[in-house]
Amino acid sequence: MTEHKSVGRGANLRDIELFLIHEADLIDQRRYEEWLDLFTDDCRYWIPLEENQTDPKNTISLVYDDRKLLETRVRRLGKDSMHAQAPHSRTLHVIGNLVVDAEAKNDLIAVRSNQIITEYRHNSIRILAGQVFHRLESQNDRFRIAHKQINLIDSEGEHRGIPIIL
């Protein structure tokens, strides 16, 4: 697979797109430790419960991880004792409708994309679709993710367990 080593060398749309593709490839290839390395030391990884939810602290979420919990989540994905991933899922991310927010503050680049994630496990297919928000820092010629948020279109729906990274 392409390694997109040039990611982060500036903030033009194509570079950002290649970075998102790279990030999704790491998930789809289950290279979770490398995926985690894309995140800042003070990152958030968030899948809200409610449409237009703004507050992860006073409203429940499908997932709300700070750096500490995200590290534990990723480490668990490497454990043979993780029943919910025996067998493991195969996923495929498709990324589109990329928009970069010009009003990004604090030197962060705000990126919105539409993503369709298809998961295969145990002879069944699940589609998880939503708007994905990234806030990217540009550090040492590469991007790092300060915040990744997945607003699933069915966030309030009746979900079976989502043990994987989206």
């Binding site: 429940i60 700070d66 500490k68 919990l69 919910a84 079976r160």
Partner: protein, 450 residues
Amino acid sequence: MEIKYSAQDIAALVQPGRVHRDAYASPAIFELEMERIFGRTWLLLGHDSQIPNAGDYFTTVMGRQPVIAVRNEDGSVQVMFNRCAHRGPMLCSLDKGSVKEFTCPYHGWVYGLDGALKSIPVARGYPQEQDPRSRKLGMVQVPRLEIYRGFIFASLAQSGVTLKQFLGPVISSFDDLVDRAPDGEVEVAGGIGRHVYNGNWKFMLENHLDGLHPRYVHASSVAAANEQDDARATDGAGEVAVRQMRQNGAPNELWENIGLWAAPNGHGFLADYHDDEKLVKMSDDPLHVEYRRRMEATYGADRTREILTVMRWNTIVFPNVSFMSQFGQLRILRPVSVDRSVVETYVFRLKGAPEEMFQRSIAFANIVNGAGSPVLTDDLEVYERMQTGLHTTGNQWVDYARGIGRDIDTGDGTQRGGTGTSEIANRNQFSAWLNYMSDSEVEISTEAAQ
């Protein structure tokens, strides 16, 4: 072909220390459960803080029947079947909302908040004696409704035991939850979560009083949390989560020593989960110090100590509730079919407590109830494997003999498991199950109860 179960057939399913797999796998048994258990017992629908003002409503199901809980103009709570008296469409299709009246989308029949028919279009179309208003058609109240400390319970049966009789000793778990609020009230806050698993509804109730499973089901999150570097950045959420994951890995000796009580009607609870030494440690936490100060301002030092010494963990109210007071968590089961169950998850805010305590409850909810939780997802996986495993016919039995003969009669209406890993809760739930399922004299409402 439809399978019928006679009273003898059903009695044969529940034996000392084991239950036949049909109890979890037979669609015909599930139909009987809807009629004889969910059609008869008290069911928790929600909490009155969800509908604070006149016209506020939420919708839910009792068994599989859609109902509306609404705050009436006189401040009372009513629960009515969610259908128009005319042709039957659901009057409310949203999870919650606020209305002045209920209007049918089909032909515009209008009902007051009390369910009485207010107006119909083209009333002259009826002969006078057939006018739906003179026939007193209206929305139909569920047969019985009782509220305990804000918790709204209803029953589809016209008669039966009172809510207090039904709850018995586990009523104290509701007290334990509400008494923890410095202002003496709790409220549902932070959204209602949902998850679903392709397995029988009883698996969840059994699992929440199962002291042996955490080390095995949650082995991956225990190991991952134990290896976690505590110095990494957290805004509090990760700290709550990692601590809970580690706790699941406590040695079997600890689980053996926690308290597990079985109460009449299939209820039960885990308690003594935190010993006094941990309580003392907790009192060093500045947040807990402030919380305790507020509690003492309301209740005084002695009563505060009494309230906070009750360290109740999960409580099960058979057949549709699991809750725990310390972090204000509650789950309501909505069985869909024999092999599919929806779980709705609630968080309670302790009114008058420091705001950060609620944030800890939210973090706790995410780690025990979130659809993406590293803990819950392994429980759901095991429920689904049980459902598939129970398709096998080589072994027809599910075994729950651990601790049999070692139960301790406490003299207060409960039985305590000889150890915290006893399967007393399974035996107790199936004792209640058999009692309900054996009795075909079900009283299901078909008429208005007004």
